[in-house]
């Protein structure tokens, strides 16, 4: 029967037993966001393309057309609409502004990749707070939310979207070649990155630096051995601004660059051993709110609630447990 009446690939029906669990997770996370002072907002799932479309990282969004000839976009992201709300509905309000949202986002899918077209996300945006303190605050809220949901084994990969571009600039790589190399980095294609770096014709030490930095990943101690030309100051500052419990969750990752154009500084992703994919992520987007008319630095994240649900179930079944660490 289902085969005769399918839903599009990357979408699915959620039936009552699962829905009850998803609601419990959502309620726990909403409570954590509220406790931290993040008020929930709802923005329309359909917006004018000329208002939000160009800012959502491009590609993969759904366009639709109304009877008046307007080009609309289906929401592909929680951050851009909230940046719009902050700049327009809170144009005179003293920052920082704290918002949360729970909504589905819609993205195009490539055949056979198992990608989701429709994803339920929970997110927060902190607008008008600089790094490192603002970044530390949202990392703290993120950990509180995951803790409230009951996730135990998660780690947060922390990178800096500006670090590698600054390194390339410091060794004189031009804009065009920088773009190609960053494209390889975003795709986590370190073979292509290495080929592109070697083609720059730089000295062996610099070439070695450019190919090795994206591989650096681990505790805060990895920052100590890094070449002076790599500016790890912002990462160290975030580490210094979070509590010990949050710091213990962090994995510093100098190769982490998220794939949305609007990130400007710290970027992060959520991992769990019971999940095959990141459960979400976020970062600083200090230039985005200004595009809607109010120039404020900002940082936020989103969590994929279905992925989180799967990870929670996996942890409960004891998949890839970390022995002794978390007596349950």
């Amino acid at each position: 029967m289902t085969a005769m009446h399918p839903t599009p690939s990357g979408t699915r029906d959620v039936l009552p037993d699962e829905m009850r669990e998803l609601r419990a997770i959502t309620d726990a996370i909403r409570g954590a966001f509220e406790d931290a002072g993040y008020g929930e907002v709802w923005t329309p799932a359909i917006e004018f393309e000329h208002v939000v479309g160009r800012m959502d990282g491009g590609g993969g969004g759904y366009r639709l057309f109304d009877d008046h000839g307007s080009v609309l976009r289906l929401r592909s992201d929680l951050t851009v609409p909230i940046a719009r709300v902050a700049a327009t509905r809170y144009a005179k309000t003293e920052p920082p502004l704290r918002f949360s949202s729970f909504a589905h986002v819609y993205r195009g899918v490539k055949p056979g990749r198992g990608q989701m077209r429709e994803t339920l996300q929970a997110g927060v945006e902190l607008i008008g707070a600089q790094g490192p303190d603002g970044t530390a605050e949202v990392l703290t809220v993120l950990c509180a939310a995951l803790d409230a949901a009951g996730l135990r084994e998660y780690r947060i990969g922390l990178g800096d979207a500006g670090l590698y571009p600054a390194l390339l600039a410091s060794v004189g790589v031009d804009a065009q070649r920088t773009a190609a190399i960053l494209d390889a980095l975003v795709a986590r294609d370190l073979v292509r990155l290495s080929v592109d770096v070697h083609a720059l014709g730089l000295d062996a030490t610099t070439t070695g630096l450019l190919t090795s930095v994206p591989l650096l990943r681990g505790g805060v101690e990895i920052l100590d051995g890094v070449d002076d030309r790599v500016d790890t100051g912002r990462l160290r500052a975030v580490h210094g601004a979070v509590s010990g419990a949050v710091a213990d969750r962090l994995i510093f990752d100098l190769g982490l660059v998220r794939d949305l154009d609007y990130y400007t500084g710290a970027v992060f992703e959520i991992y769990d051993p019971a999940a095959g994919m990141p459960l979400g992520g976020g970062g600083r987007y200090d230039d985005l709110v200004g595009q809607f008319g109010r120039d404020l630095p900002a940082v936020g994240f989103s969590v994929d609630l279905n992925g989180l649900h799967i990870a929670l179930a996996g942890e409960q079944r004891g998949e890839r447990p970390r022995a002794q660490e978390n007596p349950a």
Copy 2:
């Protein structure tokens, strides 16, 4: 600022104070649905047009296209997707099946009418239960949900989508003229209906009957004086199957015909003196689930949660209070 970065007409941002109230209403209604045994489901907001598009009452829905050339529809209704879920995912489950859902629906708007493109609805579907008992059950759930939300002054208009068509057939009106007259009735255009009825050239008594029946509206006693050619049996049976508290909320309305093609019997709408528009409604759709491969009678309703929120606020401000009836 907002003028520079608008959202489409009929959509809006919901800010935290209002969102908190909407969540409280939603939680109260979800609790009432759960208490009555209705499990929540989520269905995708985007579905294939060839699966659901032709069944949603037509017109006004949004179409979109994916990269594979498929024609998709944005959800315009909660009932059709749940009929699909019931027939395909519960193909072998013993009826009755009870589902609830909370989701936004999307419909095209006409300029200047103040219509909403995006509406948050709460609904239930009872699948595999005949009228009058099934109809009485969902009316009872509806009252429990509105009571749980705190609405006090509401009434439920109850009609029968089959009553007037059967009356027209009994006096020999042909299919084409029946369609035109029903179109006027759905539009609540009683002037046009009267013109069309007079043009039938029937005797004065019959003409008087056809023009007066759609005006009959009131307590159950209005059914007593109706001409024998009008079959009020199903309405009486529903009245006999509900509790006194639910019966007290009912207004019988022989002119009520909802505008979705799939209704087959009892239809109803929710009114409140503090609301300018119906807060939702529903009815029987005994032929819809069968179109997805499992022939089961069904009945359901949806409530417009934003309209309900406005009505609750209006009642609390004492707008159009019904003196003495409800000491608050």
